[in-house]
Point group: C2
Chain length 421, copies 2
């Protein structure tokens, strides 16, 4: 009741796995989860017995709609050989598996369990694009889609409001896209492991092969400015501002903090968990901020005792390029209206002072909605262990990272802080 | 990891609400939740400030499919004026809101929160019966519906196996139905507040009015044996063995045990929480038992230190009449194979030694799937407070009750024990 949030028991992440993201019509989303689970098992340095998993939480947005199968809990329990243990599905639209993570943390903190598997999954490739749009539309409020506000339209309105309020232009969006796409080729699991320049060169190559006139783009921004290369979806959201449709799964193994060193010498501790809810477009007083993100951030910062300055890198929910800018402001990484400048100044680049979306983000890595929250936390965990390969943040004192996940058009947001000690 | 489950902090129920159940095509399921919430507010004896609610959990099976709207968390948060607080949806098919209850308990036990609202909702009336069957079919395993095993067929197979193993007959099912329907008229919120005799008399009256020959049924069992009155759905499941399609919502207010007496002099404590997962039909070794129910019961009994004998009354998931019998056995209320005899002997009647489904159960009260788990717990809470009106269990020492909730064809089960002290 308004007091400082504190967990009765600390929680640590000791394992993680992420399936390669993409579109896999010929596979079942159980397979994606199995792929992530297998990597997770191998990732636990000192090994563990899956029989010691006490409970499972799995996030999924709407396989009900996408694959006409609901109640994935027991399907996953059976897949993992974990029947008759408790398994619970959480749903908060695109934040579904960050909620699974959170419930896993609370279950251990409560004293109920010692080891909990959390994760998420989604299969979107079996639907037509129109069906995916309809399915995702159900994550928006009843007033949004009914009045024509599909997802790109909602974020387009937000970008327009942001431009008007702070004098930004599409250049700000280009900077986000170019930055994220420069990380993506370094992530072998990304759906689009290509830089914007790679896309540009591929397009030029295609024109040459077809004998068509070759566009003379000066640079990536010139390419992104060309409607032929980057068509409008819902102005100012263009193709390269929008994350793709994806299949995938991710999972993390959580244990009580007191048990962590049994499993690894590199435990990653959960020091702040935050969640908030938000209004839909019609009830928002200001389109350039998310009350749900601010509430989640406040909760997590207070619990951890950290400030935005302490967060050395983060995954920030970039379903659309504008979302990354606005969320950085709501998370306190920069002041309101300063997000677009920070991106332009290189703050968020892999070699910048506060790398954002080292994984490539939803835009490049992919966005299997129910798996995304866990996939973001996997990236933070991997970075904190120094195991992110070519995209590893080059900071010998890397200690604090965070993941921000958004569901719907802002209805559910989470912010979770992980730390090495 | 196999140790005894123990919560770091106890949890109590200090308020509850249940909307009238039925089919309400002209209402929105937000209205049902508002109705339950309003009752809950009035039920907190010493009052409370809704601003003190720290978080909300809401169970829903598949409004995604039933009403083409997902992501109900923020919709409910907005409805209740609780934005930007955390709100999480849980899903475990027909056990969805028992999972919400459980996560609320864990959230308080973890030390994170002091006061959590938990509940559930579902609106099934906007679909055709065929669509409801398709929607519910998604809660079964992928192998069941694909091979023709819709819900009545799965429970029909279970009843057939039970009959074969233990020598029971349809008479056992009649006894369950007659017992539950004798409680229903005492529950003003029941969808069918009628006894089987009421149905029989109504049918006779209808025949008289239409000038049709009046059937000469000797008693309720004779009525239930007549295919004209009680047609087969999936043998031996007949119409009166199957719960209806329903709309509804329910909620409960949870607080830390240490805070309970601030809100009421009659707190009800959560002393055992249990959850399990189960195989689908194709992988079950024995159709006359649910491993998920047994696992949930084991967990809850161990936590509470109670035995089946200590449970004075219970709500037991009776989506089909046979389910009540089998679950009573799995919960240890009677030995395997003895459930049908116990019902015949009157053990489960309102005036019997262990009343089961005093509310009328899913069969008569109604089964708005995502709301059912919370609705069952509401009934147990109400009985323990001595406020169940005409259906109040007449035991001056009523102290321990429990609710058993099943999701799908047995994929998810919960068992929660509540106590007055």
């Amino acid at each position: 009741m308004g007091r400082k949030r504190k967990l009765a028991r600390g929680v640590a992440v000791v394992g993680g796995g992420l399936a390669k993201l993409g579109l896999f019509k010929d596979r079942n989303c159980k397979d994606f989860f199995a792929e992530a689970y297998e990597e997770m098992i191998g990732s636990v340095d000192k090994g563990f017995d899956p029989k010691d998993i006490d409970a499972v939480y799995v996030g999924n947005f709407t396989n009900d709609f996408f694959v006409r199968q609901a109640h994935w809990g027991p399907i996953i329990a059976d897949l993992l050989g974990q029947v008759p243990k408790p398994i619970t599905r959480t749903e908060g639209a695109c934040a579904s598996s960050a909620l699974a993570f959170r419930e896993g943390v609370l279950a251990i903190a409560s004293g109920m369990y010692d080891m909990v598997l959390v994760g998420g999954l989604e299969q979107m490739s079996l639907c037509t694009t129109e069906e995916v749009a309809e399915g995702l539309g159900m994550a928006a409020s009843p007033y949004e889609v009914a009045t024509g506000y599909t997802f790109p339209a909602v974020f387009g309105a937000m970008a327009t409001a942001y431009f008007a309020k702070y004098g930004a232009t599409r250049e700000a969006l280009f900077n986000v896209t170019i930055k994220s796409h420069s990380n993506a080729p370094l992530n072998p699991k990304a759906q689009f492991p290509m830089s914007v320049r790679d896309f540009m060169n591929a397009r030029i190559e295609r024109c040459r092969k077809k004998g068509e006139p070759v566009p003379e783009w000066r640079d990536e921004k010139d390419f992104l400015s060309d409607p032929a290369a980057n068509p409008s979806v819902a102005w100012p959201m263009h193709l390269f501002d929008c994350c793709p449709i994806s299949d995938g799964a991710a999972c993390l193994l959580l244990v009580g903090e007191d048990l962590a060193r049994k499993f690894t010498d590199k435990p990653v501790y959960v020091t702040g968990i935050g969640q908030g809810s938000g209004y839909s477009l019609h009830a928002k007083e200001d389109l350039t901020t998310y009350e749900a993100t601010r509430a989640a951030a406040k909760e997590a910062y207070e619990m951890s005792g950290l400030t935005p300055r302490d967060i050395q890198f983060a995954e920030v929910h970039d379903c659309f390029s504008i979302a990354e800018i606005v969320h950085m402001e709501d998370l306190g990484f920069v002041k309101p209206g300063e997000g677009h400048k920070a991106v332009a100044d290189g703050m968020t680049r892999l070699d910048g002072p506060k790398p954002i979306n080292t994984s490539g983000g939803l835009k490049c890595k992919g966005h299997p909605v129910g798996a995304t929250g866990a996939a973001q936390l996997y990236e933070v965990w991997l970075q904190l262990r120094g195991e992110a390969g070519k995209r590893q943040v080059r900071n010998p004192n890397l200690r604090v990272g965070a993941a921000h996940n958004l569901g719907g058009t802002g209805g559910t947001c989470t912010f979770n802080i992980l730390e090495r000690r």
